[in-house]
Structures are given as C-alpha cells and as structure tokens.
C-alpha cells in the first residue's frame, strides 16, 4: 500500500550512500547488542525492567536515521531505543529510565530532539501534532515524527491526532510499528480492517505500508514522508510491518499466549541478517567490517553498562524542585519536612 504522491518536482528522496549504508548496519548492530545486553542486565539486577525491541531494529534505525536533528523532533513510546540510538541520543541517559532513575530518561529532549520516553500508550501522538502545527505557525519546515504501535492505534487519541493533523495540514509523520502484538493480543484482534495505514484514506492522509524488517525500505519511506511534510503537504502515515520477537517486557511470559512455532512463522526474516546479506552481495561490506561493527557494538554496550552502574539515584529534592518552573509554598514546606524527616537535617 502506497498512496504517497511523488514530490511536486518529481524528485524522490536521495538514496543512501555506501557510507550511509554501512553506518546503518553499524547502528543496527549496536542496537541489537544493547537490547540483548539490557535484557541480561535486568536478569542480573542491574536494571529493574526493560522493554526489548528485538526484531524491530530495521524499523527503528531506518526511521530514526531519516531525522534531521537540527530541526525535526521525535516523539517516542517506551520501546524506541533503536530510534534514540540512531538519532545519537546518549545511551546511558536514555537507559536511565529503565534503571528507574527518572521517568522519561535523563537526556535533554531539547538538544537531543527526542521527547521524553512516554509510558502512556498513544500518549504523545497529539503532542507531535501540536508541535508540528507550531512549525507551520513559525513558517519552519521542520517535521514531527511520532511512534505508535498496533495496540496504540486503538486509542481515541490516535484518531483525534490524525484528524487534527489532516484538518490543519500539520507536518507529522505517524510512524506505526505494527509488530504483531500488544502484550498478549495479536493484531488481528486489535486492528479492525487489518491495517493502520489503510485508515489514512478516511482522513485523506497519504499512507505507506512497508516491510518493517527491511531497513532500506523503511529509510526510503521515511525520507519520502519527510520530503512530503516539509513541503507543506500535511501528514503521512507509515506502517512498518515487523514483529516483536521478544517478550513484551522483561516481566512478560509470551509462552502464555503464543507458541514457539507461531513465533517462528510470524517473525519473518531477521532484519540484521537480511541487511548483512544485502551489503555482502552488493560488495559494500566484508566480514572484517561486520566483525568491527560487532566489536564496537560490544564495547559500546559495555560502556553503557558501566555508565548505568555508576549512575546513582537522583537527589530526592528533585521531586519537589522539578514540578514547576515557579515553585509553591506548599511544595517548599513539603520539601523542608521531607528533608527533616528523611534526610534528618
């Protein structure tokens, strides 16, 4: 499915260069490694929980890579580690949310161009629309990209967001990762009609369904969508068909709702292996390259681990100090008695 018209000047988005292709692979390798490490860290007690994105590396890296962090802004859910990594967000600051250090993460959303991690399913789709409309008001050509899942598509806010965006022609890319599952509920019992992209027509929003395990297809679709948005044509929906290969989170037990056979059938081709084959056959990378990518991914994961282990708790006073820009007498007095009773000062 592809209802996104070609740009007015007939030019498609630029295809990735060989360097870009290799960078994409390195990013995917780093994400795969960090993701697997995070699951292990949870088992080891380094972090209390984590929502793995195994199998979604192509969808996440491919789309995140299309973002221009000098102007665009991205609104993630709780599972977009790969997007954050592709955008260059500090990974210790990102993962700090999974260490229960600070809801939303410690990274600065303004400089990183990534909104705080969002735990409300579909909670931020409307923020993307508002932010994007702000760009229109400012005469900027920046684009908002918001991530949502197949499960999230059921929320009323998604409908309101798509309708608002289309009515206001807001430059928003709705990037849907349809990974087959919302915890234990499969897409076919979640998304009536079978496709989130197909809903675009009802709003007059151009939409694309892409193979979410093909990083190049994802990158191309996202770049096309950004071109469309930047030219003032309004929103685009991209539905990347992928698969959540792991559990919903480290406290989930997928064995209760799907069999290993079903997993094998549903998951399709592994996005990393596939891209590796493509690079190999195109002669753009060799075994040495992959070994280097793997080694640097491992080193990076190790650094993130060290950073997380070194990360102490935030001072309790931040609970009070960060509520408002202008604090209140009640907060000041609560902060004072907290200090007295808990820190005994």
């Amino acid at each position: 499915m592809d209802t996104l018209p070609l740009p007015d000047d007939g030019t498609a988005a630029a295809p990735p260069t060989p360097d870009e292709l290799r960078e994409l692979y390195s990013l995917m390798a780093a994400v795969r490694r960090l993701d697997a490490s995070a699951v292990a860290w949870q088992r080891q007690g380094v972090i209390p929980g984590y929502a793995p994105e195994l199998g979604q590396e192509a969808a996440q890296v491919g789309s995140g890579y299309a973002v221009d962090t000098s102007r665009d802004f991205v609104f993630p859910t709780y599972r977009e580690m790969g997007v954050a990594r592709a955008m260059g967000v500090d990974m210790v600051e990102y993962m700090s949310t999974h260490k229960a250090t600070w809801h939303g993460g410690l990274y600065d959303p303004k400089t990183s161009r990534l909104a705080p991690i969002q735990a409300v399913v579909a909670g931020s789709v409307l923020h993307a629309v508002g932010w994007a409309h702000g760009q229109t008001l400012d005469g900027s050509d920046a684009v908002a990209m918001t991530y949502l899942g197949d499960g999230a598509s059921s929320q009323g806010d998604v409908h309101e967001a798509m309708n608002f965006a289309a009515v206001m022609k807001a430059p928003v890319v709705f990037f849907v990762q349809n990974n087959g599952w919302a915890i234990s509920v499969p897409t076919e019992r979640q998304v009536a009609g079978g496709s989130v992209a197909a809903r675009g027509a009802g709003y007059g929003i151009p939409a694309l369904q892409v193979d979410g395990n093909d990083v190049l297809a994802v990158l191309e679709a996202t770049r096309r969508a950004f071109v469309h948005c930047r030219s003032g044509n309004g929103p685009v929906i991209i539905e990347a068909m992928t698969y959540r290969r792991g559990p919903h989170s480290t406290s989930d037990d997928p064995g209760r709702y799907r069999s290993l056979d079903e997993e094998r059938d549903g998951a399709g081709e592994d996005p990393l292996r596939r891209f590796r084959q493509q690079l190999l056959s195109a002669g753009l990378a060799d075994e040495a390259f992959f070994a280097r990518a793997e080694a640097s991914a491992a080193a990076e994961a190790e650094m993130v681990r060290e950073g997380l282990e070194a990360l102490g708790p935030r001072p309790g006073s931040e609970m009070f100090d960060l509520v408002f820009q202008e604090t209140t007498p009640a907060l000041q007095s609560q902060s004072a008695s907290w200090r007295e009773e808990s820190e005994h000062v």
Partner: protein, 365 residues
C-alpha cells in the same frame, strides 16, 4: 449542547442578563481614571486581547473560539483582530485540544486553550493529568508547560447536563497544576493576565453565572508597586465573628449572606480563596485566628471536595483558637441536577446562614 443561559435569565428579569451576543462595548471609563466598568465577559476578553498583543507566542484555540468568539463570547473579536493563526477553531475533541496544547508548548508557544464547558474537560483529563501537568517534571524542566486552560465552570445557569460542574477538587489534587478562579470582573482581568503569563500550567475556572455581571475594574492594580502580583487569597469583606471561605460564583453569594447576617449583628469576614492550588493557607489561618470560626462554601459535592482541604488547613493552623469545627456548606453528593432542581443543589443563602448558625451555636460537650 451549549449553554441555555440567555434563555434562562431573560434581560427583563435579571441584572446579570446582558445578552451574550452583544458586542463588547468600549470600557466606560470616566475621564482621567484607570477604572472602567466591565462585565466579567468583557474583562476576560480584554485580558486575552492584551495577552495576545503583548506575547507573540500566545495562541488561543478551542471549539468555536475563532469565528464565533466562543459560546460565551470570551474570545469575541480576537480572531478578527489578531488573525486566524493566533485565534482558531479546532475540531470537536477535547483530548485533541489539550494534547495539541502540550505539543505547542513544547514548540515554545504559550497556548491558551478553551474547553467549552466544565463537564467536557473529562475527555481531556488524561492529557491534562498525565501530560500537561507532568511534562516539565518528566523533562526535568527542559520542556515547561506555559498553558492556560480556560474552563467555563460551575452551575447556576439552568444548563443542560454536564454544563454546570465543579472540577476544582480534581484539579487541585493533581501534582503539577495550578488552579485559579475569579469572583468578579476586576479579579477576572488581573488573574487571567497573570495566569496567562506564567511558565506553568494554570487551570482558569470561570464562573459562568457571573459572566454578564458588571463591576469596576482598576486596570492598573497589578502594576502598582505595592499591589504585587494577584497571588494568594483576598479578603473581600472584613469581619470579626466568622469567616466565610469561597471562590468563583459563591463569593458574591457569601457577600450577600454577610449583608444579611450583619442585620442580625453578625460580622462576617468573606475570604475569596482565588487560588485553589496553591491554596493560601496563611490567609486562611490569619482570618480564622481572628474570627475563631469558619464556614467553607462550594458548589461541588461535599465528599472529597476542596472544602475538606480548606477545613483541614484551617483546623491544622487554628486548632487552639477554633471555637467550633469548620462547617462545609456545599453541593450534595449527587450528580448536578437539571435546572428545576439546581437551586436545591447549589448552596443558597438559607443553607449558608444555617451553616453560620451551627458554628455560632456550637457548644462543647
């Protein structure tokens, strides 16, 4: 459905009944004075006009806010004057309106959204509580939420269902929100101008039954060096025997009650709480330390209403001097009723007088 206010208080019958469709007249300022006579609708409209003029990042939007000027005409004429990119209509979806406000704030704007009626804030509660109130915190101060949410509030206009609700207890309980309600045109002008220039989210609850009531507005008040910003509570009438605490439309009613009580020699102090969060505990305690007795009045249902918080703050601060437990005269624990019964529901003069009497006649033991 929109308010049936116009119908229920026809011009002939009530001084409150200036038609909502009438254009805002020019302020009738005596020459050389800074005081003008305005209805609350006009005062709010003027405040918004000035906010738009002073802050290029301020934007106003909501259902019917643009071309129509809002069902209560609070944004009347603002689209024509400031343009359709500053003042605009949205599709009919309150969660959308608030979610969009959050996004605009993230992009550096100061959104001033309107929810058409109190009861239609409920569809937006998720965005209000989980997003607007927390984004500053979640982002560790990087993404402030300077959003002023206007909500025509409270009852008294014989309106359809869901058009007469009092949500202050809910809002005041939510960490990250500030909440304010004006009681007259002067307060409306200054509190809105103040709220709409704050860097934090403020819920601005407008007492819709007072929209068409006129009053003097001193346009300078907040500018004079000793006046300071309109924070905290305000004594609207000084008295020695008992303190009535109220906000919104109940302030005017309490002032009426005070007049009546004065005939019986009871000297009532009336405190307009104004800010429902943060609550001005000092002002509460200062007043009741003096009067030693208090009644808190609100339209919302009794149980878990803001009156409980006010009463507890007073009790906490005045335990030694208090002569009787603080009384609450409030709406009942029932859904806001239809017009025929609303005078039975909203605290009326009799019920407030009974409350005063209970406090004055309280004897230990």
């Amino acid at each position: 459905m929109t308010g049936f206010r116009q119908a229920q208080s026809p011009d002939a019958k009530s001084p409150e009944a200036q038609s909502p469709d009438a254009p805002s007249p020019d302020p009738e300022a005596p020459a050389g004075s800074h005081t003008v006579t305005l209805s609350m609708q006009q005062a709010l409209n003027r405040a918004l006009d000035e906010v738009l003029a002073e802050n290029p990042r301020a934007v106003i939007f909501g259902e019917d806010c643009g071309r129509l000027g809002g069902v209560f005409r609070i944004t009347d004429g603002l689209q024509a004057k400031h343009g359709a990119s500053r003042v605009f209509d949205t599709p009919l979806a309150e969660s959308g309106i608030l979610g969009m406000s959050v996004g605009l704030a993230m992009a550096g704007f100061h959104p001033i959204p309107e929810v058409q009626f109190d009861g239609f804030a409920y569809p937006a509660i998720n965005q209000i509580v989980c997003q607007m109130a927390r984004m500053n915190y979640r982002s560790r101060g990087a993404l402030p939420m300077p959003i002023t949410l206007r909500v025509p509030s409270f009852g008294g206009i014989r309106a359809p269902e869901h058009h007469s609700e009092s949500l202050e207890a809910l809002f005041a309980h939510v960490p990250g929100l500030k909440v304010v309600s004006p009681s007259n045109p002067h307060e409306a002008y200054h509190l809105l101008k103040y709220a709409a220039t704050r860097p934090d989210p403020v819920i601005f609850m407008e007492p819709k039954s007072r929209y068409w009531q006129k009053g003097d507005v001193d346009l300078r008040a907040a500018d004079t060096p000793d006046a300071g910003p309109p924070t905290g509570a305000k004594v609207m009438r000084h008295g020695r025997h008992i303190t009535l605490v109220a906000w919104g439309a109940m302030v005017a009613r309490c002032l009426q009650v005070a007049d009546l009580a004065a005939e019986d020699g009871i000297d009532v102090e009336v405190l307009d709480l104004r800010w429902l969060k943060p609550i001005d505990a000092e002002a509460l305690v200062a007043s009741v330390r003096k009067t030693r007795r208090a009644v808190v009045v609100h339209e919302a249902p009794l149980t878990s209403g803001l009156g409980a918080e006010v009463a507890q703050l007073i009790t906490q601060g005045c335990f030694d001097t208090l002569k009787a437990p603080v009384e609450r005269v409030t709406g009942f624990d029932v859904p806001y009723p239809s017009g025929d019964l609303e005078d039975e529901y909203i605290p009326n003069i009799d019920r407030i007088l009974f409350g005063i009497q209970r406090v004055l006649e309280y004897r230990r033991g």
